[in-house]
Structures are given as structure tokens and as C-alpha cells.
Amino acid sequence: MIRRHGPRLAVLVIAAAFTALAGLVGQAGMAALDRTEGWRARLAGEMTAAIRPSDPAGADAETVRATEVLAGTEGVAEVRALERTRVAELLAPWTAGARGPDLATLPRLIAVELDARNPARRQDLAEALNAAGIDAVVDDHQGWRRTAADFRHSAAVGLLAALMLCASGLAAIGALAADQDFALRRAALRTRIQLGDTPLACLLSGVGPAARDLAAGALVGGLGAAGLGVLSGLITSGISTADLIALTWRLASLVAAASLIAIVCALATAARRIQELDP
């Protein structure tokens, strides 16, 4: 066997750092995407009816009537009138300028949860309220859903960019490791080629140590990212067995992907270099 030409700690550490970074970015990005998707799904499954009471004194009664009308509309699963204080909180950003707003003059909000199988349309709810003589505006959350979709898109692009950066780093360290290996083994590889070894055999034997270092680095980085993920999960909401299984799966995928990127680049670099040895 060919003796090793010194430690390759730098390759291992850099591969570990990029893999850990990819793991952390991946976990944070996936969490952001999951949350945004949850938000968007909740917004899509609900509408909000804003009741504008004609007489502040009869606002409560009108709200109750609107709730009953909405509950009886086809495609509605559940209706929930918001407390006046909660409405004040929700509308605070728009009423902050008004000192001590009279809660009675504020519109009353009713959250309408739609039937998932046969959801009511915004027009259905608006028409039902109008038919009952209630002055109301129904918001189907289009604006918020668009905002959520935009945020999700931005998060996905950001995640992709960060992962691409990590992948580029892994690719670069793979190529660098192969280049370094090649420089150390150039004479030996040239001799092997001249003795009749094929470039492929030289490639596989020559790139082995670099591949091992890169894979070990990816494993260390993946374990580091997983450890931090578990720690953050324990601190925030606890970790279930299902979470651990999902994490293990993601860890294995991450390490495999990181190793693959680095090793493919190492192989490509080594192949190019070895090709140069056969005149």
C-alpha cells in the first residue's frame, strides 16, 4: 500500500465546516418553509368577515346574527366571533393614531373556518350576509396568502443560494484535495501509467484517500449540525421519536449529498490530471 503523505486535517475540517453549515442552513430553511406553508394553508382555509354595525348599541346582536348566518352557509365548517379586545389588538396597527378608540365603533371580526372538502367562496359568504341585511366585508386573505407565498419563495431562493454556496465550498475542497493528492502522487501515478495501469484504476486508487477524508469531514459536519438541531429542538419544543427519525434521515441525506458533491469534484479533478499523464 502507498503510505500517506501527511495528515489531511485541513480537508477534513473544511469539509466538516461546509457540511455543518449546509446542515444548519438546511434545517433553518426547511423550518421556515414549513412554517410559511402552514401559515399559507391556514390563511387559505379561513376567511374573515368584518361586520360594520349600523348602530354601535346593537353591534353585539348583529355580530351574533352574522355568526349564525355564516354558520348556516354551505361550505363553512366553523365560525368564531372574535372578542372586542382581540379585535382592538388586531386592528391596533391601524388605529394606533386614534387615542382611546371606542371599541364599540370598531368593526366586529368573525373568523370563518371553511369546509376543507367543499370550501365556500368569498362571494357566497358576502351574499349570505347581504341577504340577511348585514353590512359586512368578507376578506378571503388573498393579500396575506400572496405575502406568505412571496415570503416562502424568498425563503426557498435564500435556502437554495445558501445550499449552493455550501455545495460550491464542498466542490472546491474536493477539487483542492484531489489536486493536492495528485501533486503528491504525480510521480507514482506517472510510473503506474507507464507500467500499464489504466487511468481509471489510477483514478480510483489515487482518489481514495481524498474521498475518505472528504466523507469523514462530511460525517463530522453532519453530526455537528444534527447535534445542534437536537439541542435547539430540546430547548424550544422537545424532540419526539419521529423528530429523531426525520433528523437521522436528513443527516444521512446531507452527509451523502455533501460527500457526493465533494467526491465527484475530486474525481473530476483527478481524472483531468491523470489524463495529462498519458501523453
Binding site: R3, A187, T191, I193, Q194, L195, G196, D197, T198, P199
Partner: protein
């Protein structure tokens, strides 16, 4: 008379090595080669001699497929190596044993691993050839160095190891560039006897040396300033 210039002798013989109009650019401190025509029949023994820098090593590198010619055509064992695919060229190289002037030992391998490298490259299991390599190293006076690394050897021993590696794979053609240049008379005699023995068994032998009387070759060619001057056979 040069046997190859005699039609009766050249007819029916298959050439182990044929160079036609081969040219190669000069390298540091040596002449380039110009229009080299050379044919070595299978089983022949050719000694190429010339002064330092005459182009002997370049000629051996061309014949050993370590350098691609700038012009002309090379055939080894009837095949044009530079028309073959990479794998085919590798197979052809395995049919040759090379002693490089700079030895080209692999420093990270032991003496036994270096000697057994041609077999390993040919895909033979180490168990199969380990004993043969040990015997060969014994014969070369390197038996006690089998586990050492080339850096632990002196130049004489390194050169013997290079010859051992060249002959270990039972090649059909041996190209040896100054194979005994650093050896003492006893070791040199031993190595030359081995090469001659292999040649008698049918192995084609091409040796390059500054010494025109290095060995009793059947053919001798002088190389001067990158050009081949044919000489009469001995």
C-alpha cells in the same frame, strides 16, 4: 551486416518495435530526435549507445510510450499505440518491461510492492506472485530489503530494484535505459546475465547505454545528435 537490411532475415520476422521517421523535440540538455527509422525483431537484442545528451533516453521514452512523437510512426508488437484507446495502450504497456534512467520507483511502496507492481497492475492476486517476487529479489541481492522502502536503498540497490520490476511481469519486450550505470561490476554482471538469459528465452531486449561494449548485443546502433547511425552486428 545489419540483419534487418537483409531481406531474407527480415522476411517472416515480426517486429517487436518499429519506428518510422520518428521525430521528437529536444528536452533540457539533450538532443531532439529527427527522422529516426528503427526496427527491432522479436527476440532480438539491440544496444543503443551514444554520448550523454545524444537522445538515448528520449528514444527509450518514445519506444516505451512515455513520450508521444512529434512526427513519424511507432509500432510496438505490431500495434500503433497512439491509435489505440487508453485501455488498449495500457494493455500494450503491460507487455513491456521498462527500466527508466531515473528509475521511477514508487517511494511510498516497499521494495517487494515495487517489484510486484506490474503483476498487481495486471490484476494478478498478490498471493500468486509473492513467492516469485521474493525469489527475484533474492537473485538481485535485495532479499533482505523486501520490506524496506526505496528511500532506504542506495543507488545501486535502487537500480537493481528497477530492473527487478521491469522483468517481474515476464514482458515480451524489455527497454532498459542505462540499467547498470550505478552498479558495481559484480551486480552489473549479474543483472546483464539475467537480461541475456531472458533474451535467450525470446524476450526482445533494447538497452541504451553510453558504453558500446556493455553487453554482447546482436545489434548495435549509435545515436549521435539525435540521429541513428547503424553499425554492424556483433
Amino acid at each position: 551486416m545489419d540483419p534487418l537490411s537483409d531481406p531474407d532475415l527480415s522476411q517472416g520476422t515480426t517486429s517487436a518495435l518499429r519506428l518510422s521517421g520518428v521525430a521528437a523535440p529536444r528536452r533540457a540538455g539533450t538532443s531532439g530526435l529527427e527522422g529516426v527509422d528503427l526496427e527491432v525483431a522479436q527476440g532480438d537484442f539491440l544496444l543503443v549507445h551514444g554520448e550523454a545528451g545524444a537522445g538515448k533516453s528520449l528514444l527509450m521514452s518514445l519506444a516505451g510510450l512515455a513520450v508521444r512523437p512529434a512526427a513519424g510512426r511507432i509500432e510496438v508488437l505490431g500495434l500503433n499505440p497512439w491509435r489505440l484507446a487508453t485501455a488498449g495502450r495500457a494493455r500494450l504497456r503491460r507487455r513491456m518491461g521498462l527500466v527508466f534512467q531515473d528509475l521511477n520507483l514508487i517511494e511510498g511502496m516497499t521494495v517487494a510492492e515495487n517489484a510486484g507492481l506490474p503483476m498487481r497492475i495486471a490484476g494478478i492476486r498478490p498471493d500468486t506472485y509473492r513467492r516469485d517476487v521474493a525469489e527475484l529479489l533474492d537473485w538481485m541481492g535485495l532479499g533482505d530489503k523486501a520490506g524496506a522502502f526505496p528511500e532506504d536503498l542506495d543507488h545501486d540497490q535502487r537500480q537493481r530494484l528497477a530492473v527487478a520490476r521491469a522483468v517481474a511481469g515476464r514482458p515480451e519486450v524489455i527497454l532498459a535505459d542505462e540499467p547498470v550505470g550505478w552498479m558495481g561490476p559484480e551486480a552489473a554482471g549479474r543483472v546483464l546475465r539475467l537480461l541475456l538469459q531472458l533474451n535467450r528465452q525470446g524476450v526482445t531486449l533494447v538497452v541504451a547505454s553510453r558504453n558500446p561494449d556493455l553487453a554482447p548485443a546482436r545489434r548495435r546502433l549509435a545515436l549521435v545528435g539525435g540521429r541513428v547511425l547503424p553499425e554492424a552486428g556483433t
